[in-house]
Symmetry: D2
Subunit: 324 residues, 4 copies
């Protein structure tokens, strides 16, 4: 059994990790660390876990084989500075601290996009889990990047559910504001652009393409829907392009190309990514969908853990979708 510690245990991604790991056949959750709620029952905070666990938040970890950092962006580095992590202990960071800046002392973080870095992750001691928007968009573009086919600007609109904004209530996650509403935020400047660009180059695209990315706030809780298009240079045929996508993702247990248009709820509450591809106006148009809390965060983190510990990649992750 893999002994797991989860830090930042009261947040949304920690809650989702718990939901997954409590059902994982090869995991023992040894500690759920919370600076603010030590001593409290885990199921009292994550109320849906009532009847599923007797875990209690603690203020320290013991001897975990892996620590999941669910601390919020920019807090992972400080945590590692303040805590003495045993050398053998692996780290999976769900924050953005090590995605673009992968070194911390002796520790080097592999970018944990399983569909790209599967072999590197198998050998990794430390993994930086990708961002949710970044995952959705990279899945839409990886096969083209791998063939150096991204030669023009990329146009992206992507809509996210409210859980991506975390647990702390605020103006734009207030129900009276968000319900039946749509808005744009950080247009063309979202912080995930860096990891997307770096990844496309690392996948094989020689030039870093310009990405015009308009993120939107959707009035739903789970899921990201991305609509992506870029000039289609006809280096390969349309049929070959779709074949390229299918063969690229053939080894991946969670990413599929749909022959029909996709709607977001086809993946909600699962670790899947679905893609649909069409050609119009001289563009290739890709729609890409994931659940931001699962494939976009905690599910992908467990997928990384599975790879790092030599387990079958999908162990504990074949989740029943909610569909509706």
């Amino acid at each position: 059994m893999i002994n797991v510690c989860i830090t930042g245990g009261t947040g949304y991604t920690a809650g989702e990790l718990l939901r997954i790991l409590l059902r994982h056949p090869a995991v023992n959750i040894e500690s759920v660390v919370s600076a603010t709620s030590a001593g409290m029952s885990v199921a009292e905070m994550h109320r849906d876990l009532l009847g599923e666990t007797d875990l209690v938040f603690s203020d320290r970890f013991c001897r975990p084989d892996v620590i999941f950092l669910c601390l919020g962006h920019g807090l992972s580095r400080a945590f590692l500075e303040e805590n003495d992590i045993p050398e053998h202990c692996r780290i999976i960071d769900l924050g953005n601290d090590f995605r673009n800046d992968p070194l911390f002392g002796e520790r080097a973080f592999v970018f944990g996009l399983c569909e790209l870095n599967r072999e590197l992750i198998r050998k990794a001691e430390n993994v930086a889990n990708p961002g949710c928007f970044a995952t959705t968009i990279m899945l839409a573009l990886l096969p083209l990047a791998a063939k150096n086919l991204l030669t023009d600007e990329i146009h992206v609109h992507a809509i996210t559910g409210s859980t991506g904004a975390g647990k702390k209530p605020g103006e734009t996650t207030h129900f009276s504001y968000r319900d039946n509403n749509i808005s744009v935020y950080k247009p063309f400047t979202h912080q995930h652009l860096t990891e997307i660009g770096n990844t496309l180059v690392s996948a094989g695209n020689k030039e870093l393409p310009q990405i015009n990315f308009v993120p939107m706030r959707g009035d739903f809780t789970r899921g990201i829907f991305a609509s992506v298009y870029t000039k289609w240079n006809e280096a390969i045929s349309e049929t070959e392009a779709i074949e390229l996508y299918k063969s690229f993702y053939a080894p991946s247990p969670f990413v599929f190309v749909s022959d029909k248009p996709v709607n977001m709820k086809e993946v909600v509450n699962t670790n899947k990514g679905l893609l649909h591809i069409e050609f119009h106006n001289g563009y290739i148009h890709i729609t890409s969908i994931i659940d931001n809390l699962v494939k976009g965060a905690s599910g992908q983190a467990v997928q990384n853990m599975n790879l790092m510990f030599g387990l079958e990649e999908s162990t504990g992750l074949r989740l029943k979708g909610s569909a509706f």
Copy 2:
């Protein structure tokens, strides 16, 4: 023109008052007072008013003919103590300070349920505007109370939209929590029970009936849906009962009895109240719907103002419903 001052100008009920009063043919908004936002443009706070007003929040009022108190429950009394209100100036309180305790020095507050106290309100200097749940439930019961027909316990479930909880974000108004969710709060103990009971007696019911009231949080923004039933003692026939309701509300421009079942969106964004009545299992069952921000708060406050100033009751209140 009636010179109006609105206090507590940044909140939801003040915003809704502004939406209504900016279109009211007999009103001049002389000041919108806010302790925290003086100097700020009103349309910058209530963003939907862009292009509709140049008003700026101020920290004082001048010489209004009427002040609307939109301060939050329990704060109206303190406001009146700290501010010198001109003697001639009328007051309409949207808080709960004077509903059950109607005296403040020389000022006496009339309970502003227009359908019951129309004549009293016409002569009133001060009005305590009813609560939103209370309005919905009282409209369902007034005709029976007026005939002393409430002789048994009353059973009420009522579901409210999120705007009833106000502007300040919190756990149960967080979109990630509230969306697609239902919950109960303050079962059998909601603070509106007092004003409901008092009103039924003041309407003519000799005994104060026991009211079993389960309030629920709905996953919508506007509206209250109440399902109310009580033993049907057959003092009058079913047909007579429905006729009683229709004749009781005949003088009211906003309350109607529907022969068909009602759904909540039939009244959203209007000042209307709709009722539907059926008889089952020896009970009379009444469903009652209003928009909590309009008939349940700011619309009813304007209806009261119209009566107090000798205007036609519906002036400025024949609002287009949103229907969807």
Copy 3:
């Protein structure tokens, strides 16, 4: 492995059965029968199953060990008349055909409320799966019925998600109507009242209590929230009552009593039922929540199958909740 046939394969409960059974460790789905879609890929209909199954709808079954009837209310009896079901083959009916009228030729149907009839179900050849509203309400009342403590009328309001109305679009499931809306239907006359009443008596309540049940349509897709109360006769103390509930459900892997108020999303996408109990105004007030498609339909059907085939009751049913 249990060889399973699902009939009525294109509907919502069949889809949910597929989601569950495709992950069930002891099940082989041998056929998914559809009169209208034979030859079509199952994942083309239930789009979220893309990448999870290669099943194709067929127009017949082979030699299943169990048939799940997902045909719609009133159609199961006709199906059994028209089809020759092998004698050894067990039947689990998700319709309402055999809940109150349990005989069909030689076959007798046990009412499949696991928390009440666990031992009978273990030996059953045929099971009538309870209705979704009925399940929610019965879970709220079973412990009291078992002690003959239901001595007065029962008051119930329960709100259901749209999936309870099935796949066929209609006026009250039209998004433009249903979104942000609430309405009542079949007040005091819902067809589940019969099975609720019968079950309470069969659980041990000597008299059939009157149940005043107001069903409501909620603007969410999954889940039922029931608010139930009845006079508290103080035959036992409040503490004893809560203890009674906890001990009654102690053998049940999916039903729990929460010490804190519950909200519906605590059980969505799981097979759980959660209860919360308070005492007010001389009443015991129980809130009860389930997912209508899982515990209220397909999950409970699998729970019944597990019992019928000697498996651990929760096999394949410890589903990750969606929580948000």
Copy 4:
């Protein structure tokens, strides 16, 4: 008073017209024609109108001054062929029959985008009311087109509420499908592209620019949110561009440029259009919002009527927004 006839009276746009015109100070609704519901009370169909009108659907019109055609796309032409419209009677078509093909016998239809064709509409006998997506997108681009500044491709994503799909229930407007969901339809091929392109040229853009338009289905009922960008050629400065927008829309009572980002609910239930402009990556980015049923259909139709009959453009259209 203007005598008005509404045809296709049972649909969504007819209902919205009724909501507006029943409050219009210069209108008398003489007939609401419905082929299928003649004899039925209008308020029985459009339930929110209970208490607001005694109108009854009829199967013919009398002597209207103007007919609004709310028949569904492609049916207006047939209606005019089958019915003898008095020569003096004006026509406003809410369908798409005459937007791109403006002639019908002697009658010529002016494209009813008030912000562009105000003076033409004042003299028009017949008006083709613009489409809802088209209105949103044209408002975002008109000022640039008027200065011939659209010199490169235009990129548009726009999300629409469900009421845009009309009253007839279907798979993609089924609540169980649509709630908490997002999907794309007709990418790059939506039928409004023609009227958008024609209008931009007619506004003054010499070349017809390529428009890459991805329409999306949102999980809300009212509203369209469009995100539009095109290369910014710096022919004028950014400040000048914003000034250009403000001066272009200065004569328009309903279109405003917001200095802050907009969210869709700022215009829901109003006839307003709001725009917000930013510059990034060498692009000008415009967000544009309207209510699809009001400014995108029935409100704009009334705005056209006001202009055609010499009324103040905003008569009867200063509607209270719903804001939440």
